[in-house]
Amino acid sequence: MKETVTTGSLESSDCLIRLEPSEQLEIDLETDVHEAFYEHIHTLISDTLEEMGVQSVYVRCKDQGALDFTIRARLIAAIERYRELHDG
């Protein structure tokens, strides 16, 4: 069974998000603006997960300089698809 969900792309100013089952909440973030914005993006992801009521999942985000609204949209879409896949 396919358990992972992927949204987004590796285009410039986009991000690729992958969700996989996990016992805990894990965020694996790689970004080309690491030095200036790693914490900002990490906080954005964890806040969005909390807002969506996600308690355990592995999030892989490969960011290519996406802005907040892009990352949020990609992540929310991934969470919804993940829920369809696992709960639906």
């Binding site: 603006v33 030095e35 914005f37 914490e39 900002h40 300089g65 996406a66 802005l67 907040d68």
Partner: protein, 464 residues
């Protein structure tokens, strides 16, 4: 001597460790000469050479290998990207790394401050006397502006060509300064000589910025008969040049000259009789090369005649308007075009600092952020050009005018253009990107030299 044999030529040049060897960049990313010469110098076991190249591109892999092995100890250039940039940014260069401006390099060569031992000059066409031109030959590249001072001042000047012509070649490199002529099967790949970047932007943000910059020019008070203008080969710059041409035509204005690097839109202006002269230090595309062959108003000039600050008749001392880019700008209007915000070497001044200082109106055009990285920073990673020489920054969310030029601010406001404080522009970008954490710098790796040889800034490695 005149030979087809590189090794025979190198034998007579009496090369020694530590010599300064120069190259120009008119063949850009199609250049085969530097790799071939440097590989031969490396095979000969020479050490500690000073690579004095007007610019370095991705094609220049051999220079990176020479740095790695110690064949090259020092590098001085005006613009660098590709493997040499990566090598230097990794701290691999044993000696000094200096970034000059186009005008500053010409000045340093002419004044003997940077004495060149051997100039290896790729020359698309050479005649029997040893005159050289960039207009003819299989690897025609147009103006050879950045080769002229090296050719005239080097202790030994070698013209390297793949086209020895039977007819006399009237060109920028006069036989009186030529010591040797070397013929190789090919000096470069024409596909890489004319860069592929020359497209007018189709990006809506870029077009918006271009339109606003054109309005700045319209209301600057400088649009009159005799106006002079310079713009580079970036997508936004080319769009502005086309719009500027149309504005000249619509207002019945004739410009006196366009200067610097010349591309199709500049040629179009000359051929529509919208401008009297093109002062061409470097051709960017086929159109420009063709125009040099047929248009008497299209004049190739040397780097010294273009921008040497000590040359009283340099072309850009009469320059009204220049359009310039930026990778970063700070709130004092200082500009970085040398590195990105994270310390990667991505270019260099070229003529940026020269034209910013000499022009009456220096306009920076750039989007407020690229990816998540904001243009306007509280602190630059590298300062290339002093803010005091910049008049305004045109972005998609408004025009910031340097406080020293309130006359311009007044004119633009009166014309209804969106003049905003540079701090406000920075904040409005941060609303999208977030506020960047200050970037930690690594060790110093070189210096940015101003056009008079002064130290403008220190270059640092990336941290970690």
């Amino acid at each position: 001597m005149r030979t087809d044999d590189l090794e025979a030529l190198l034998d007579v040049l009496e090369l020694r460790d530590g010599m300064r060897v120069s190259f120009h960049h008119h063949l850009r990313n199609g250049d085969a000469v530097m790799n071939e010469v440097l590989a031969a110098l490396r095979r000969r076991g020479l050490k500690d050479l000073h690579l004095y190249a007007s610019a370095l591109f991705p094609v220049h892999t051999e220079a990176a290998a020479c740095i790695e092995e110690g064949t090259i100890r020092h590098v001085t250039t005006n613009y660098v990207n590709g493997p040499v940039a990566e090598e230097i940014a990794r701290g691999k260069l044993r000696g000094e790394f200096t970034m000059q401006t186009h005008g500053g390099r010409a000045r340093a060569v002419l004044q003997g401050e940077n004495a060149i031992d051997v100039a290896f000059l790729a020359t698309p066409a050479v005649d029997a006397e040893g005159n050289g031109s960039g207009i003819y030959g299989a690897a025609a590249c147009g103006s050879l502006g950045y080769a002229v001072e090296d050719h005239a001042c080097a202790k030994r000047s070698v013209l390297i060509t793949d086209s020895l012509e039977d007819f006399p070649v009237p060109g920028q490199l006069s036989a009186s300064h030529t010591d040797h002529v070397l013929r190789l099967p090919s000096i470069g790949d024409p596909g890489g000589i004319v860069s592929g970047t020359l497209e007018v932007t189709r990006d809506p943000l870029g077009l918006k910025i271009a339109r606003m910059a054109t309005e700045v020019i319209r209301h600057s008070g400088l649009l009159r008969n005799g106006v002079s203008f310079q713009s580079g080969a970036g997508g936004i710059s080319l769009a502005i040049t086309e719009q500027f041409n149309d504005m000249l035509a619509a207002t019945g204005t004739q410009a006196s000259f366009f200067s610097g690097g010349i591309a199709a839109p500049h040629v179009k202006a000359l051929e529509r009789n919208l401008v009297e002269k093109l002062y061409d230090v470097q051709c960017f595309d086929e159109e420009a090369i063709g125009s040099l062959q047929r248009n008497t108003g299209h004049i190739p000039i040397s780097a010294g005649d273009y921008a040497d600050p000590t040359n009283a008749s340099r072309v850009i001392k009469d320059l009204d308007i220049v359009i310039l880019g930026a990778s970063e700008v700070d709130t004092g209007f200082n500009v970085n075009v040398t590195t990105d915000s994270y310390g990667n070497l991505i270019g260099g001044s070229g003529g940026h600092s020269d034209t910013a200082e000499d022009s009456k109106l220096a306009i920076i055009v750039a989007p407020l952020f690229r990816g998540r990285t904001p243009l306007i920073q509280e602190r630059l990673f590298t300062k290339t050009t002093s803010g005091e020489h910049i008049d305004c920054l045109v972005s998609e969310r408004g025009i910031a005018v340097h406080p020293a030029n309130d006359k311009l601010a007044g004119r633009l406001k009166a014309a209804g253009l969106p003049v905003v404080d540079i701090e406000t522009l920075m904040q409005s970008a941060h609303a999208y990107t977030g506020r960047p954490k200050p970037i930690t710098r690594g060790d110093a790796i070189g210096i940015v030299e101003g056009r008079r040889g002064d130290v403008q800034d220190t270059l640092y490695r990336k941290a970690g």
